[in-house]
């Protein structure tokens, strides 16, 4: 058998050729599997709702229509949801990056008295959490139920992000800040004018994580703000669409699929497809451009403490 794979075709071994062929096919398969569900949703969202009920939409719309999107954008609740999603994402990202980098800067100063204690003080919170009920009471006692602040304030400090930024700052040469300190710059100026500008790549990563986390969050709306329509978010609206679909039977499409709702020009399926695209495209447009940054950031996060 070993000899068989060693047969040469031109200058390549048969075994190598077979391997690369199979491997390439496997990778193409991965690409299709990762992409298709999303691609198919795009096709459905741009297809006429009634036509979709006939089934068989795969890669492209059969009867092109933007009606699903029009009805999503006309819906007042959806407009509120989109606005809230954008606002919470912007605020959480800006504040998250500032607070995270500030803490990371302080923890990276070797001369800080009590540095070890303060570091452990933050690290411990990564592993110990009070849990759902005590946290709910905390939010309630702080008066943040059904307030916009509940989207921004509780998640401000992410220890994981701090660890990542700190590893990056520590990889910078000491001379960088030493020179500034000798020139009489205080710690705040050192942080703001020297360290932050050097951290652009890692801050881009952390900003992406903060943005993704805030944008994709639905559970806090569900738990802390479900009583307030004006605080709804895109993901929460999506959650409501999906759960009504799941609860109205084991399978949504078998209920709406038999054409009973012929009078309607939108169907739950088409609306859900359109909301899926609206609620995910903003991030999917951004991430490929930040790829080289977050790849580095992930690696920093797993380096030893």
């Amino acid at each position: 058998m070993k000899n068989f794979w060693s047969i040469r075709i031109g200058k390549h071994r048969l075994g190598d050729l077979t391997f690369h062929l199979v491997n390439g096919i496997v990778m193409l398969f991965v690409v299709v599997v990762m992409l298709y569900p999303f691609w198919n949703t795009i096709a459905v969202s741009f297809n006429d709702a009634q036509d979709t009920l006939r089934g068989g939409i795969t890669f492209f719309p059969r009867v092109f229509s933007t009606y699903s999107y029009k009805s999503v954008f006309k819906n007042k609740l959806m407009a509120t949801a989109a606005l809230n999603s954008v606002l919470r994402t912007l605020l959480s990202t800006v504040l998250g990056v500032l607070v995270g980098s500030l803490i990371a800067y302080v923890l990276s100063r070797r001369e800080l008295v009590g540095r070890k204690f303060i570091t452990v003080y933050f690290l411990v919170t990564m592993y110990i959490s009070a849990g759902l009920i005590p946290n709910y009471f905390l939010i309630k006692d702080l008066g943040m139920l059904n307030k916009f602040s509940v989207y921004v304030v509780p998640g401000l400090v992410s220890v994981y992000n701090i660890v990542v930024i700190k590893s990056f700052i520590q990889s910078l040469p000491d001379s960088l800040t030493e020179a500034a300190m000798v020139d009489g710059a205080g710690h705040f100026r050192c942080y703001w004018q020297i360290v932050l500008p050097c951290c652009k790549s890692v801050l881009a990563t952390v900003a992406l994580w903060c943005a993704v986390g805030a944008w994709n969050q639905w559970f806090d709306t569900f738990l802390y703000a479900s009583g307030a329509d004006h605080l709804t978010t895109l993901q929460y609206e999506m959650m409501k669409l999906l759960s009504s679909a799941m609860q109205s039977g084991r399978d949504l499409s078998s209920i709406y699929g038999n054409g009973q709702q012929v009078a309607n020009t939108v169907t739950p399926t088409s609306i859900r497809a359109a909301v899926t695209i609206v609620a995910s495209v903003p991030i999917l447009i951004v991430y490929p451009f930040l790829q080289k940054y977050f790849v580095k950031g992930v690696t920093l996060g797993a380096t030893k403490e």
Partner: protein, 306 residues
């Protein structure tokens, strides 16, 4: 000057640093440490109207009640099973994917595959669940269409309606969402392996798979261990969203996890004490897992996290 005075003087010189960090520490105290006082509820028959001081102390009664509840143990089993399946399969898939991707020669194909494989990570679980329910649908769902097209089944399988499939549904949802993302770290670790090791192995007559087994895998072993420890601490938290969103009433026996149990008893039924007790149980198990794996990693002479 005494030692303390020296330290104090040093601290005084660093007051800006403290000005920067102390507000953050207070914040962390309020949002991470202070809520731990809520654990008192688990040892009381807590009534919100009476507060901690006014509620009756019941000792370990809530835990006793919990441990006699078959529904609770079922939640523990579901949590553990789904967590272990997720963890094991995501690790294997991510590592194999990284190994195979590393062998791709064409830079273009490599880059496209990588970028596309990260896509699902950026989707929310709500959207992933929505996509999963589309794919598994009995009416024009992709999986049923393909299986029927191949003649493997005669009529659509109710993937989301039968208990026996549910854990696999959650596992594969996780694999789909996170394989690409998890592989980032392995790809980075592989690229850091000393190339001369491969050359030496080649001189010894090692083939492609032998090099993977004897050079690449040992080269990323410490990365695997560190990640395993980090993930074990969070593994029980991971089993909330998919079971909560996709596990409808009929599937409750296999889909209800500890988190869902806490949500149900705490928020819907209003039995805060019992729910908190269940939450504490989960936290303790998580901690044991972290320290346990860390200790084992230490014994094996691997880099440990703490």
């Amino acid at each position: 000057m005494g030692k303390y005075q020296k330290t104090l003087k040093k601290m005084a010189g660093q007051k800006i640093l403290y000005l920067m960090i102390v507000p953050c520490m207070i914040y962390t105290f309020i949002f991470s440490y202070y809520p731990l006082s809520g654990w008192i509820m688990a040892f009381q028959n807590y009534k919100p109207a009476k507060g901690y001081a006014g509620s009756t102390f019941v000792g370990l009664d809530q835990f006793m009640f919990l441990f006699e509840d078959i529904e609770f143990w079922r939640s523990v089993r579901n949590t553990l099973m789904m967590s272990v399946m997720n963890l094991a399969f995501s690790f294997v898939f991510a590592i194999v994917f990284a190994l195979l991707l590393n062998e791709i020669k064409s830079l273009g194909l490599k880059r496209i595959t990588q970028t596309v494989s990260y896509l699902p990570h950026f989707l929310s679980w709500i959207i992933v669940c929505s996509l999963v329910s589309n794919i598994l649908s009995t009416n024009d769902g992709m999986l049923n269409n393909i299986l029927m097209g191949l003649g493997l089944i005669d009529k659509p399988v109710l993937w989301l309606g039968e208990q026996k499939y549910f854990w696999w549904v959650t596992t594969f949802s996780n694999i789909w969402k996170e394989t690409g993302w998890n592989s980032i770290i392995y790809i980075a670790a592989i690229s850091g392996i000393d190339q001369s090791l491969y050359e030496a192995a080649e001189l010894d007559g090692a083939g492609r798979f032998q090099k993977m087994w004897h050079v690449t895998l040992p080269g990323i072993k410490s990365t695997i261990v560190v990640l395993l420890i980090m993930n074990l601490g969070w593994v029980l938290n991971a089993s909330f969203e998919v079971p909560y969103i996709l596990g409808s009433g009929l599937l409750q026996d296999v889909s209800q996890t500890i988190d869902i149990f806490v949500l149900k008893y705490g928020m819907s039924i209003g039995n805060y004490s019992l729910a908190t007790a269940a939450g504490i149980f989960k936290s303790v198990i998580s901690l044991l897992l972290v320290f346990g794996t860390n200790a084992i990693a230490n014994k094996l002479g691997e880099n440990s996290l703490m």
